[in-house]
Symmetry: C2
């Protein structure tokens, strides 16, 4: 994990246990692949989803190092890793978490199976943690939502008329479903009542949406140029929030954007930088930030309906910080 | 499903229910993908694993159209489909079950997610069928064995010194695990006692191994030339049973084979046909058939330890027939 948690020992100690648990589950017949997956699980990952699960658990009264919550936190990170490994195949990503991606190191073939192995490890760990619970179904449902989100995003490729609702539907699946699951499981297995679980689920969902929006916004507020993954997204027709907002505005920029995007997958670097410039000029970045702020606000409201304690205050702080992140 | 079951109404009616159940579970947000998966589930598949599960169930006393067994049979076929969709990505296969493969029709990107969608549908259906049962763990374990088999096979690529034990280990995972699961679940959920479940599991496992060996043998007994998938296997270093047996024999052919295979992935068509000829001359095809016969015999012995009824006699006949199949 990266070290953003170091100043919070209550969570960093637990995240170390999560990492141990993940490493345990990644043992497989191919030592080289196992090492690469362990590296992926250990270096660079923010462990944001496990941290949410464990902290919401403590908001709702869980003790430190509750074995069941650690296992559930590990299961969610493993599911997240599975989707990352398969996404990297789809996106041809050379890098993941600062290291060479599984697909680029071992080829797409092994990456397909590596992702499948992670799905299996997820399933296995989940059974270890909560066999018999109705939360097995909740997990299956979350997996399904993630995939529907990914497929939905694919359906929308190159669609400049994509509505904000379409975008939200897909983000709700591909990103928010796991945040929601983390928060919901944390509350439920810490003994939270139905109301608490409902508020936790809403917190996770809204935070997940805001998190994805921020990701989209950062594409346009970084260096002078778009970074490589964003350029790849553009040329494969995946349009992110600021671009969609710029397209929908009734502005001079929207017409020019339409005409550049009409080139489909034939965009060159010059086109992409022009797109970046037009999106910024249109004011869509600020608009996107406003929308992300609205979801963050909703997340904070759900949080305030949960018990007020130091863990809740920590999550409140973290949620506000996420909106201000620059990387 | 293909029509090999048509003369056995007791099973073909149930397999229609299995197909209905699978179609139900394949509903997704991408209509085109859904249609392709339904086609894959409906045309050409032999439904061998569901047939084994349902018939073993009846051997052990299950009634026709037992809803739980139908769902379990559907879950196994869906898991099988998931592995096929991902295998086709790895193998670059243009065809699957006589139709265009998912990866070749939609691209590898969608095929990655399509396989994941099938894994999710499998998980979901399994929970519907047997929530709370320890057989959830049995399923997770089978999934893991399949993947370990696939990864093991990858580890052995281009290894001309691969032992028969290595081969058996991989086949035990990549093929036999699902046959074993089918037979085991059929017996258990039909109310079979521990002994019956054990015999059923052994039957499935041995049958699965024999089935894969036959598949390997058919590569060398078909037309004059190796077919395209076999050529692709050879050039990606996947060596099947007859070739491994020919390599291990202390014969003049083994030395020549070694020297041709030393070309690695640079084999041309001429090399491949020479390999085919050498393998046949070495007597390895007959040796392989003998070994497959041994496993078939063991499968039949396990079957004979189960209740003797018309369903058992049907499975006995089917098992013997599999050894004689020519396609």
């Amino acid at each position: 994990m990266n070290n953003q948690w170091q100043s919070y020992p209550f969570i960093s100690t637990q995240l170390n246990s999560v990492n141990q648990c993940i490493q345990e589950k990644l043992k497989c017949s191919n030592q080289e692949l196992q090492d690469a997956l362990v590296t992926m699980a250990t270096n660079g990952g923010k462990y944001l989803r496990p941290a949410i699960l464990l902290t919401i658990g403590q908001v709702c009264g869980a003790k430190d190092d509750n074995d069941q919550l650690i296992k559930l936190a590990a299961s969610i990170e493993i599911l997240h890793m599975a989707t990352l490994v398969h996404d990297d195949i789809v996106d041809d990503s050379p890098k993941r978490r600062g290291a060479v991606s599984i697909q680029s190191r071992f080829g797409k073939d092994i990456a397909v199976y590596a992702g499948d192995l992670l799905f299996t490890a997820f399933f296995d760990l989940l059974l270890e943690a909560i066999h018999g619970s109705k939360y097995l179904e909740v997990n299956a449902h979350a997996m399904r939502k993630i995939l529907d989100g990914e497929l939905g995003q694919m359906n929308q490729r190159f669609n400049t008329k994509q509505s904000l609702d379409d975008y939200l539907d897909d983000v709700n699946g591909k990103t928010a479903a796991l945040f929601q699951l983390a928060a919901q499981e944390g509350a439920h297995f810490a003994g939270g009542d139905e109301d608490a679980v409902q508020h936790a689920a809403e917190f996770g969902q809204k935070l997940g949406i805001a998190f994805q929006m921020l990701d989209d916004i950062l594409d346009y507020t970084g260096d002078d140029q778009l970074n490589k993954p964003v350029m790849e997204d553009l040329s494969t027709g995946v349009y992110s929030l600021p671009l969609l907002m710029a397209l929908q505005a009734d502005s001079p920029q929207s017409t020019t954007l339409e005409s550049i995007l009409a080139k489909g997958n034939q965009l060159d670097e010059n086109d992409m930088n022009q797109i970046r410039q037009l999106v910024i000029e249109s004011g869509a970045v600020e608009q996107s930030r406003e929308l992300a702020g609205k979801f963050t606000q909703e997340a904070l409201e759900s949080l305030s309906a949960l018990p007020d304690n130091k863990y809740n205050r920590f999550l409140t702080k973290m949620t506000k910080k996420l909106l201000k992140r620059t990387i």
